[in-house]
């Protein structure tokens, strides 16, 4: 039915439809590319600081950590972090990380030193890149407020856990206080804690109390000062 010429005309039309289709797909892809959010494609870096009271050792430490985490799709950047921990009296400890192309971290330990009040963790995140040399990328910080609460042993519950009640020395009050005042790791039996007083270290981060047992000290015969 068709001559060779007709056939080639048909193939040409098909080719045209095919390239038109490809053009359409490309156009849609272009639209999607510009409309889809691309968090990971922007070369951001994430900087972070954190802190905790390390009661697993003696002496007890206030720990500060600074982290820089770069997205992979940057080129030639080098990062480092400086972290300092400062006590209420001004004692401090500081450290600097190794430089790294994508992830830098440094942990700093400061002896707690039985100080109460405001400890601060401060981190400075720096970088260098082919175009900008030695630039401070940003700062982060955590305020750690250390206070103490005093408890008296009052008995034992049905499960055998020792029970305690908050009881501060006259004229003092507790900033935090534990959420759960039973089973505190003091004494060997509950009977040994009845009528005895203990104080426990409270930790607040940026004003938010962490209501769990860090350390408890005792026993005393009288209520201890709270802060």
């Amino acid at each position: 039915m068709f001559s060779e010429n007709d056939s080639s005309l048909l193939s040409g039309a098909r080719r045209q439809r095919l390239s038109a289709g490809k053009l359409m797909i490309f156009a849609v892809a272009l639209l999607l590319f510009t409309c889809i959010p691309s968090y990971g494609q922007m070369g951001n870096s994430v900087i972070y600081s954190d802190s905790w009271v390390d009661s697993s050792s003696s002496p007890i430490y206030v720990v500060g950590v600074g982290i820089t985490s770069d997205s992979y799709n940057t080129y030639g950047h080098q990062y480092w972090v400086n972290t300092t921990v400062t006590s209420p009296s001004g004692r401090y400890s500081g450290g600097q990380s190794w430089t790294s192309s994508s992830y830098a971290r440094v942990d700093v330990y400061l002896d707690w030193g039985f100080e109460f009040g405001d400890f601060t963790v401060h981190t400075t995140h720096s970088m260098t890149c082919p175009y900008i040399y030695n630039v401070v990328n940003g700062f982060t910080g955590v305020d750690i407020w250390l206070t103490r609460s005093s408890y008296v042993g009052t008995g034992q519950d049905a499960s055998g856990a020792c029970l305690f009640e908050l009881q501060c020395a006259p004229g003092t009050s507790a900033t935090c206080g534990l959420a759960q005042t039973k089973g505190l790791p003091v004494g060997t039996t509950c009977a040994q804690t009845w009528g005895k007083h203990f104080w426990c270290l409270d930790v607040s981060y940026n004003g938010i109390c962490v209501k769990y047992t860090t350390i408890c000290v005792g026993p005393w015969n009288l209520p201890q000062a709270c802060s």
């Binding site: 409309c35 994430v46 697993s56 971290r105 982060t140 910080g141 940026n206």
Partner: protein
């Protein structure tokens, strides 16, 4: 038909340019808003203002994606091979679940949650390390002018990294108690996200194509040391 397709193609380009322009203007607005927040926030000195375009989790925790917050948490608690560091990290994780040697009712957070979270973080570290290594190798190649395919590969790795973290974070409810998961989610929102800042990468000058030699002596990155007890 062909005219229609070409018309659509041109329209798509126009819309794309428009969207890009809109994005740019939104960035400019964000920068302007940041500039208006000139007063440093609490504990931040005048000299420590954030770079324009920085997302500060303390002011806008809702702008910090969950996977970014979980990635930071996993980074903090994983890969602590020394025994003393493991004990220290355990005290950190205890504060997430707010439980230390306490007698919990059934279903409450317990040391089981602590172990489970640490195990998940280690798994994250193990799998992310593979991507970290690949990225580090690529970053060191074809320096200082990376080939477009290298940047495309890095972008792909970053997408894998983000997806992996999101995937592992979404597996947490299967590993933690109900109360433990609640405590963790609260901790992410109240503690982790406010401590995060997302900082935009530096923009090279339009005419700067080549690597600039760093300044000579005296301006090199400071010597490093790692302070530990």
């Amino acid at each position: 038909m062909r005219i229609k397709v070409i018309g659509f193609f041109l329209l798509a380009i126009a819309v794309s340019i428009g969207v890009a322009g809109f994005r740019q203007s939104r960035t400019s607005v964000a920068v302007a808003e940041n500039a208006q927040q000139a007063a440093p926030s609490q504990g931040q000195s005048q000299a420590e203002q954030d770079q324009p375009g920085t997302i500060n989790g303390k002011e806008h925790p809702e702008l910090i994606p969950d996977y970014v917050a979980y990635a930071m948490l996993f980074r903090v608690i994983a890969n602590r091979p020394e025994e003393s560091a493991q004990r220290s990290i355990r005290t950190y994780v205890k504060q997430i679940f707010q439980c230390s040697q306490c007698n919990n009712p059934p279903g409450a957070s317990s040391d089981g949650d602590i172990d489970a979270l640490l195990a998940v973080a280690e798994e994250h570290h193990r799998r992310i390390s593979v991507l970290d290594t690949q990225a580090a190798k690529i970053k060191g190649r074809s320096w200082p002018e990376p080939a477009p395919e290298m940047l495309a590969k890095l972008t792909q790795l970053q997408a894998q990294n983000d997806a992996l973290t999101a995937d592992i974070a979404s597996s947490l409810p299967a590993h933690l108690s109900g109360r433990g998961m609640e405590n963790l989610q609260r901790y992410i929102v109240e503690h982790v996200k406010p401590a995060i800042k997302i900082v935009p990468g530096p923009q090279p000058p339009a005419d700067s194509k080549y690597y600039q030699e760093p300044p000579p002596a005296g301006a090199a990155p400071p010597a490093t040391h790692h302070h530990q007890p």
